[in-house]
Symmetry: C2
DNA sequence: CTGAAAGCGCTTACAG
DNA sequence: CTGAAAGCGCTTACAG
């Protein structure tokens, strides 16, 4: 087992200086004669030399690594975003390092710090909460651009890309009201995430109609990322409030739990009044369930695009991009 | 906007040498008196100093970064593995950098090279094919341990963790044969991936019964990671061969496509003879579909465990770990 | 207990 | 066109 070869070994074999090796490997910044270049390339090939990106980063100040901090990558939506982020970054010569917070604020703060230590060139964050915190403020001092994805921290100086959660849930509740629902529930996955907050806000806005219809919607918050506590929470909810006549589930995990809960207890419930976020399988059900379809691909793609633009030029005004979601009924 | 502070600024503020700052920050290797230590800690706090992991890596030779190369992270199974990999690594003070190959051999080779450039301390690969190739051989020269996850390259010197694909598909086909199926199809997602090859091999083994039953199974290969070509491929298949009386779909994406194809053409098919890999939603269908449930969590967890062991001590014999999958009928 | 100094593998302004 | 040299921010064996 040999050791990885370095630039100086290549230089020796090619009988040139280490500087010349760099000029060849990097195509600049100096010209190299064709013969010399060929000698270097031969030596690179023979030694199977690969430049050390770490040493280069130290010198240039660019790691070509982007940090991605999300609650989890296991959920289908996050997985889609992580995938497109990764592919888009790769085609721009960047790597993604991914960290998950499991919806814990302390881990998020720690991860931001670690990303700074790793000298990431940029950071994508899907934050647990909506409060400003010091580690995020420090990013500016370190010249690390930040883009919020899927969720954001209001009034923080950064770009952000996410679903227009208020608009789509407003539309969803209007639809339910039109279907005759008067006593609804919106089941949320977090009490701190901006997306969860916005979704209930949208639900409330959806109640307001022109024709004086009186309807209400409660917010049931299940603080459990996996959705496994949703079943018990739902039962306890209907014990106090009775069975709602309209349901909005803000994640598909919660939707599945509630669906199973209804079935296991053989509770009759009209499926066309059951709206689940991101449930791609909803159309395969009999009958098909209404669902809200977010465009995760586009959220991820646009996030990377904004980040790359900002890594090149940090002077532009911050952008707040909404990606449209669809209510499929 | 200030610049990130360095160790020497901390040293100056604390009126000590840079070495002493290191001793404090790293808790060693030299003792530091309590008063000096406190001065340093105060300076670190005041300057909000974060050690530069890149500079440290260059010096120590350890990046504390693990590379993960997979076909995609968008599929639910890969997402689960990526998530547990990332969490397990984080709790051992490692970061994961993730790259996807989109089932392309050339991208896989390029990504291995790039991971070497990034000086990863270890590499997890879910390979596109089963052929040995040079970039993978080079890993040993660079002292980078390798673990195959979910798929492997036979006879390559490395640890590997995956589902026992032969065993579970054998069991699945035996079940189908017992249900009376005689003319089956196994729809695969790749002609090169070890997992796809093993799954069909298992199907063939499942045909052999003690009681002389004669049954056959064809292999339909849909080389399209997203499964969107599966519908057309399936129609063209049944045109030549007729409708099979038993179906094994080796990914849930393919399963969904075929299910939709059957429905769109209103083709009657007995759902209890339709087995889909990884289709967690199968039990929610009416009637529930049989499915094969892989333990992605355990595959990811065990992969990281083996990698970490090998990063500590590369002398152990290589391990080939099978994680059990379940046939739920 | 503390510090001066070498060196990790690169890049690049500068001199020739 | 080519090379000698400084320096990126760290670690650590060694001397005091």
């Amino acid at each position: 087992m040999s050791k990885r070869s370095t630039r100086s070994e290549v230089a020796k074999l090619a009988r040139v200086s280490v500087a010349t090796v760099s000029y060849v490997v990097n195509n600049g910044p100096q010209k190299v004669s064709p013969e010399t270049r060929q000698r270097v390339l031969d030596a690179v090939e023979e030694l199977r030399y690969r430049p050390d990106a770490i040493a280069r980063s130290l010198k240039t100040g660019h790691s070509h690594i982007v940090g991605v901090i999300v609650p989890t990558v296991a959920s289908p939506g996050m997985a889609m975003m992580a995938n497109i982020i990764q592919e888009t970054l790769a085609s721009n010569d960047y790597f993604a390092i991914i960290a998950s917070t499991r919806e814990r604020q302390d881990l998020e703060e720690k991860m931001v710090d670690l990303m700074v230590s790793q000298s990431v060139d940029g950071l994508i964050v899907c934050p647990v909460g909506i409060q400003h915190y010091q580690q995020l403020e420090d990013l500016a001092d370190n010249n690390i651009p930040l883009v919020f994805m899927d969720r954001h921290i209001p009034d923080f100086p950064a770009d952000r890309v996410m679903t227009d959660n208020v608009a789509v849930t407003k539309q969803a509740v209007r639809y339910l009201v039109k279907q005759g629902c008067r006593k609804m529930v919106c089941i949320s996955f977090s009490r701190t995430a901006s997306s969860a907050i916005d979704r209930f806000e949208g639900c409330l806005q959806g109640l307001q109609t022109d024709d004086g219809t009186v309807a209400e919607i409660k917010n049931l918050i299940v603080e459990d990322p996996t959705g496994s506590l949703a079943e018990a929470a739902f039962f306890s909810f209907i014990e106090s409030y009775g069975l709602p006549d309209g349901i909005v589930c803000t994640t598909q995990e919660i939707g599945i739990s509630v669906l199973k809960a209804l079935r296991s207890q053989k509770i009759a419930y009209p499926m066309q009044k059951f709206i689940i976020f991101d449930a791609d399988w909803a159309e395969m059900m009999m009958p098909p369930l209404p669902m809200i379809s977010q465009n995760f691909f586009e959220i991820g793609r646009k996030t990377v695009q904004l980040l790359i633009e900002r890594m090149k030029d940090s002077s532009n005004p911050f952008q707040f991009v909404h990606i449209e979601a669809n209510l499929n009924v």
